[in-house]
């Protein structure tokens, strides 16, 4: 349906920020924190997790995902506001 909208305000959607930087930043931060915690975990903490260095592994996984998102956002940036959907 195309309704008549006199004096229509222009959509601000093009100002929407790139979510990939946010996900990338958060996971990189969480990943680094968990890796540090994992490297300093006591034997008791590791035994709690059935002998798995779970903080370390989760940290590495989250860091990797974070870096993938940052790289993706960097290599394929959003199109400049107003530009067409051209490749």
């Amino acid at each position: 349906m195309t309704e008549e909208r006199p004096n229509a305000v222009r959509s601000g959607a093009s100002k929407l920020f790139d979510l990939r930087y946010l996900i990338g930043g958060l996971f990189t931060l969480y990943g680094v924190v968990l890796i540090i915690v994992g490297l300093t975990d006591s034997k008791a903490k590791i035994n709690k997790a059935a002998g798995v260095h779970i903080n370390l592994w989760t940290g590495l996984g989250m860091l990797a995902l974070g870096l993938v998102f940052l790289a993706w956002a960097r290599l394929r940036p959003l199109h400049a506001p107003g530009s067409d959907e051209a490749k």
Partner: protein
């Protein structure tokens, strides 16, 4: 409803875990603030200006349904029913999501409607529209309250915060990011939440499996001396007539769950469809549910397995006095995860609750503004006015949600009845939509009477079903109604609703006047909208973006997994 047993679930959280949680909550509000800059029109607020890429809307599509009630509830089903729980995913979700993307999305997105109820207004008439918009809006606000209450129970049992504090604090965060950022705020947070909940669940499953001695060890332990012994790892065993599968017979599973309930929810629930309508073009809208289907295929491994691990390592889990099936994931988090990952898992769980509630609120404000306020109460104002209405009604909706949560904390059963009541309204929707989209003769009044009689049939089936011995295990009627297979009765209620809706829709159509064909352009199969842009002008998607390829790949994976877990 998530009924947690408060005792013994308290997590051993420290400053590190609270720090991880705090960073997330700061980010949640930051997303709202940043998204606010992109809200200039009401369409920006309610539909993200139809600008989002498919991977964002696709993950939000799945995340809007991946609330914590869903996660905890499916782990509970995993512990109680074993792998039969996959029916809620592989037959009860994936086919419907693919159908939405491939078949129905062109009608929704292509016709330019803002909402699912608006489709009904243009296809049928005003009474059909009001019936659907009103029942949807009321259901969303009250469901938001249910989510909020469940969240407060979890916070109370895991962290020890008082219920009322937990309700108000989480409501304020949700309110902040939706009022500011509108649907973009909600969707961006849903995508972020998806990754955080995965980061919490995957370590839990890995550690749990190591603990029980791997997949083989889990099978051994569950098959020896637990109530699930012998049928925990198959999904289709015992679905013949008479049935012995925990979810009942194949008729209920295939037609009730797989066809009526699943298609009704995934293809007509506006909370879900709204995510696809916010996509930047038709191709992205079609790919929204298809991209969502891939995580949906694999999520059961992250919910059912924790349920089974809990059964394997905790004696009398779920059947004893000290714990309920709903506690599976919280218990395992407390048992296995050291500080650090513990904070991530806790953050994921709380984020899932907020996302569930935010999804309810962000679809409620849209339907209220576009489908009730603008057409019927205050018409023909400038766009900025409706943007303000949207923000104000968001606040009102959250306040009603808080009120509902407080009522629920006093009368727990009321919430179960409310949810049951809304399930009556949902059950017949798919019949009406599919007939409307494929039979151009379907008349305006057929829409209204079809929905009304389908709703009534679901209610009648539910109440008479309690007296039918077939719905009891082994066919043994139980006068106290306690042993009834409620899931199976629910599936049959949906079948009744579908049949009643279809029969009445056809009957009423035959005796009433159809809509002129010109008014149906773009809404019905075979009647293209003359004003629609030529599909040939649209940019050609790359080969891996083809909706058909995505859809059939997802179906193929589901079929292979179904055979493995036959």
């Amino acid at each position: 409803m998530v009924g947690m047993q408060a005792a013994g679930l308290r997590l051993d959280v420290n400053g590190l875990d609270y720090g991880i949680l705090a960073i997330y909550f700061v980010l949640v509000v930051a997303i709202g603030l940043l998204a606010r800059r992109a809200v200039a029109t009401s369409e920006d607020f309610f539909l993200s200006g139809r600008s989002l890429p498919a991977w964002v809307t696709g993950l939000a599509f799945i995340s809007a349904n991946l609330g914590a009630i869903e996660i905890l509830g499916m782990a509970a089903n995993g512990g109680q029913y074993g792998f039969s729980t996959v029916h809620f995913y592989w037959i009860g979700a994936v086919p419907a999501m693919i159908f939405l993307g491939l078949v129905m999305m062109p009608f929704y997105y292509g016709s330019g409607v803002h909402s699912v109820p608006e489709y009904l207004r243009r296809r049928f008439n005003i009474p059909t529209h009001i019936f659907n918009a009103l029942s949807f809006a009321v259901a969303q606000v009250l469901t938001a309250g249910v989510n909020l209450y469940a969240l407060s129970l979890v916070i109370k049992s895991l962290l020890g915060w008082p219920t009322s504090l937990a309700i108000v604090v989480s409501a304020v965060f949700v309110l902040a990011y939706i009022t500011l950022g509108g649907l973009s705020g909600a969707i961006y947070n849903e995508v972020l939440q998806f990754f955080v909940i995965m980061a919490g669940l995957i370590p839990l499953v890995v550690v749990g499996l190591v603990k029980v001695g791997g997949w083989g060890g889990l099978k051994d332990k569950v098959n020896n001396g637990t109530p699930l012994a012998g049928h925990a790892f198959s999904s289709w065993k015992g679905v013949g007539i008479p049935w012995s599968n925990p979810l009942g017979d194949w008729i209920g599973i295939v037609f009730g769950l797989g066809f009526v309930l699943s298609f009704g929810y995934w293809t007509t629930n506006f909370t879900e469809v709204q995510r696809a309508l916010s996509a930047k073009d038709l191709s992205a809208a079609q790919r929204t549910p298809l991209i969502g289907a891939f995580p949906k295929i694999f999520i059961p491994f992250l919910t059912i397995i924790p349920g089974l691990i809990a059964v394997a390592i905790i004696p009398h889990f779920g059947t004893g006095a000290n714990n309920s099936y709903n506690d599976a994931i919280p218990i395992l988090i407390g048992k296995f995860l050291p500080n650090g990952v513990l904070g991530i898992a806790l953050t994921g769980l709380l984020a899932a609750f907020m996302a569930g509630m935010a999804a309810n609120v962000s679809s409620f404000n849209t339907v209220f503004t576009y489908d009730l306020w603008r057409p019927y109460v205050v018409k023909d104002r400038e766009d900025g006015y409706y943007l303000r209405v949207g923000r104000i009604i968001t606040v009102i909706g959250v306040v009603i949600g808080i009120g509902t949560a407080f009522i629920a904390s006093g009368y727990n059963n009321i919430m179960n009845y409310i949810q049951l009541l809304f399930s009556y309204f949902n059950a017949p929707l798919f019949a009406t939509f599919i007939i409307a989209m494929y039979w151009k003769r379907t008349s305006p009044w057929a829409g209204f009477w079809g929905l009304a009689s389908g709703t009534a049939a679901a209610a009648v089936m539910h109440f008479t079903g309690y007296n039918i011995s077939y719905f009891y295990p082994g066919g043994h009627y139980d006068a106290s109604h306690k042993t009834i297979n409620a899931q199976m009765l629910n599936f049959y209620g949906a079948i009744a609703a579908f049949v009643a809706d279809a029969v009445v829709t056809v009957a009423v159509t035959l005796v009433t006047k159809p809509k002129p064909v010109a008014e149906l352009a773009g809404l019905v199969h075979g009647i293209p909208d003359p004003n629609a842009p030529d599909p040939k002008d649209a940019p050609k998607p790359l080969w891996w973006q083809s909706p058909k390829l995505l859809g059939f790949t997802a179906l193929g994976i589901t079929a292979v997994l179904s055979v493995i877990f036959l």
